[in-house]
């Protein structure tokens, strides 16, 4: 069990390393989304400066045919500067790495698709070496997958949750259709709320399209007793300012140390109090909830709900 964190500011790398965190995900030119996109030069500098650390790069977009050659060229550059691996969701990325026999940890991170152990076993045969589990399945299922899979798995333990992404410029299109003025590129200023729903989502647009994330941060600071067998516990720092990211990383880092020292059960309350003091919206996502398989199940659920209301 170790922490892995999406790096949002190069200058805070020292702080994270001081906490004992040594594995990072870097955003780059071909990232689908990332708290910050580093240049190859910046990545190279960090790798040289922190040889004890492992750096993954988020190559987690779905790539169009017209850019796939450039993607290939970029991966070659990443290999040369010495990154540890790639987070990817496009099997084209895996195919490029396989064809070129690059020695990279290929972490399959398709946001929504890693929902059972058998699929991961098949993908291991195809060259996937580690994977990030989907967030839309209950913790119980995540643990089942962990037990039945023989590759390192990553679990997002903290941060905003991916909801959806479109190749379309949905905010630009809306702005042009409505003639309303708003800032469509800031990652954090805009939110949407479906009418008749309480859920609020962040929405922003960039050159890759439109991205929707939860406003609330998923948290698992108090669940280390259940999740300690996962190889990587991931902190998503997207939409956090640098202080929040450092505070959160520090809390999880301390909690991990406490777990290793067998004092976690005693300390967890105080960690949680510190987390609450950050005053960021927190939620459990689907950890103790579940989606339904068929429409019949929805109807059954609605029926049960209405029966319980009577």
């Amino acid at each position: 069990m170790k922490l892995i964190l999406s790096l949002n500011k190069k200058e805070r790398l020292y702080d994270y390393v001081s906490m004992g965190i040594d594995t990072f995900v870097l955003g780059g030119h071909y990232s689908f989304y990332a708290p910050y996109n580093f240049s190859l030069e910046e990545m190279s500098q960090m790798i040289e400066q922190y040889p004890q650390c492992s750096f993954y790069v988020a190559m987690n977009a779905l790539y169009d045919e017209h850019e796939i050659k450039d993607v290939q060229y970029y991966i070659d550059k990443l290999v040369k500067i010495g990154i540890k691996g790639l987070l990817f969701q496009d099997f084209g990325v895996l195919q490029i790495v396989k064809k070129n026999s690059y020695s990279l940890d290929m972490m399959y991170a398709p946001e929504t698709l890693n929902t059972n152990a058998m699929t991961l076993k098949v993908l291991k045969q195809q060259g996937v070496t580690s994977a990030q589990l989907a967030r839309v399945i209950p913790l119980e299922e995540q643990l089942q997958i962990l037990q039945q899979t023989d590759m390192p798995l990553m679990l997002q333990v903290h941060g905003v949750e991916y909801i959806a992404a479109s190749k379309r410029a949905l905010l630009t299109n809306y702005q042009q259709a409505s003639h309303l003025q708003f800032d469509l590129t800031s990652q954090t200023r805009l939110t949407i709320q479906a009418r008749n729903s309480e859920d609020i989502f962040h929405i922003y647009e960039d050159q890759r399209g439109t991205h929707i994330f939860s406003q609330e941060r998923l948290y698992m600071l108090d669940l280390l007793n259940q999740i300690h067998d996962f190889e990587y516990l991931y902190i998503e720092t997207l939409m956090m300012d640098e202080n929040e990211a450092v505070e959160v990383a520090s809390l999880y880092s301390d909690a991990l140390k406490s777990f290793q020292n067998n004092t976690y059960d005693r300390d967890v309350k105080s960690y949680m109090n510190l987390l609450y003091q950050l005053k960021t919206p927190l939620h459990r996502g689907f950890l103790f909830d579940q989606t339904v398989y068929k429409l019949e199940d929805v109807r059954k659920m609605d029926h049960e709900k209405s029966q319980s209301n009577h």
Binding site: Q95, T112, L113, N116, Q125, Q126, A164, T191, V292
Partner: protein, 416 residues
């Protein structure tokens, strides 16, 4: 470059005609799709299929569909395109084996575990990579090819230029959407429904939350005030009716029409229009002239405005629906012809929607030109005169001056 045409008797002719692949939500629609010209039909089973609903096909239904398709030289593809969760793992092998024994031509799959199973079981059926995997480039296609996949259904985000480049590089079958509703987000990567409705989009429960109305806030201040247009993420439906020739020339193997939930009228109208269009182009591609006949036909069953999707490039606001969903079929499906007596000019019909004496009806068919008549004589099952037809599925008789054929369909001409 794929060879799609050659000179025969001094005239260039298309030698690689694409498959026209139509959707069907039940057996009636399956049969209509084939009768109206589909080369293949894709259907969903009771399990492992998106749009998993009670009305989906049982194995017996699929068996009947396969037998029917064989009579017409057509094929049945079955969608097994859910993303499996731990509790969905049981029963797949047996299901695939049964589909294979029934004689299904292909399964459409999104989960690599099902891909692996289908290939390792040495089944006869083909395995097609679902659009749920949003495949956009030749490297990803090459990955699936290495896994033994027989066909890749491309993501709807693939532009014409990218498609052209892909077709020049890959030698696996490629399927491309030509008509129907579009996911506004990357397929398989949208969790809006999961979060807003607790309905799993990747397991057949999508609540189409993208088409809902939203309020937009900036720094917690409402941007769209009461009189402003609400924010929405609803796409117009795609129609590439004006680009079929270009797609045929690229050698695309299969043209897919979306819409397993659509009506029998929709299926018949859309399949018929594309069947005629493809045949017309292939017969003499160099003399083919695009006209608006086919688009007008398609609009008769459309319930949303059309757009080109990503065919040219990024869709603009013109390809989205904001205020109104524009759901107004221009013509209403009112009857299906069951039989026709050439002596009395009486057609036995199965009534579908309300119509009355005096209404103008357009009859369309895979076998003849459209014809329009005015309802002058309408009889009930006992051949007594009536004025209105208002009981769906009732057998009635209507006088039609010109000869019509069983399974022709009639739609009410909207009075201007």
């Amino acid at each position: 470059m794929r060879k799609v045409s050659q000179i025969i008797n001094g005239k260039r002719q298309i030698i690689k005609k694409p498959e026209l692949l139509a959707p069907a939500g039940n057996l009636e629609k399956l049969k209509v799709a084939i009768m109206y010209g589909a080369d293949a039909v894709f259907v969903g089973g009771k399990e492992f299929s998106l749009r998993s609903q009670a009305s989906n096909f049982s194995l017996e239904d699929i068996q009947e569909g396969v037998a029917f398709a064989k009579e017409y030289g057509a094929h049945i593809h079955v969608t097994c395109n859910i993303i499996l969760h731990q509790d969905n793992l049981k029963g797949i092998q047996e299901y695939l084996k049964q589909l294979d024994e029934i004689g299904v031509t292909a399964i459409i799959v999104a989960d690599p575990y099902i891909m692996f199973l289908a290939k390792s079981m040495n089944l006869n059926l083909e395995v097609h990579v679902s659009t749920q995997l949003s495949t956009l480039n030749s490297q990803a296609i090459s990955f699936y090819q290495d896994m033994g996949m027989d066909r890749v259904v491309l993501g709807r985000e693939v532009t014409y230029d990218d498609l052209k480049a892909i077709m020049n590089q890959v030698d696996v079958d490629i399927e491309y959407f030509i008509h129907g509703a579009m996911c506004i987000h990357y397929s398989g990567r949208c969790m809006l429904s999961n979060y807003l409705s607790r309905r799993d989009a990747n397991r057949g429960g999508c609540s189409q939350s993208c088409r809902w109305y939203y309020d937009l806030y900036q720094d917690r201040e409402l941007v769209n005030q009461e009189d402003d247009m609400p924010f929405s993420m609803s796409s117009k439906d795609m129609s590439l009716v004006h680009h079929i020739g270009e797609l045929i020339e690229l050698g695309v193997d299969s043209f897919k029409i979306e819409g397993r939930m659509k009506s029998v009228h929709y299926i018949a109208t859309v399949v018929s229009a594309y069947r005629k269009l493809i045949d017309s182009y292939c017969e003499d591609p160099d003399a083919f002239k695009q006209n608006d006949y086919y688009e007008k036909e398609l609009q008769k069953a459309a319930n949303r405005a059309f757009c080109h999707g990503f065919f040219y490039d990024h869709p603009t606001q013109d390809e989205q629906l904001f205020n109104l969903r524009d759901e107004h079929p221009t013509q209403e499906f009112v009857m299906r012809i069951m039989d026709y007596d050439e002596k009395t000019h009486l057609a036995q019909i199965e009534q579908r929607n309300y119509f009355k004496v005096g209404d103008q009806i357009e009859v369309f068919s895979p076998h003849h030109e459209n014809l329009v008549f005015k309802v002058e004589k309408l009889l009930n099952e006992d051949k007594e005169r009536i004025e209105v037809a208002n009981h769906p599925m009732e057998l009635l008789y209507v006088e039609i001056p010109e000869k019509v054929l069983p399974n022709d369909m009639g739609r009410k001409v909207k009075q201007s």
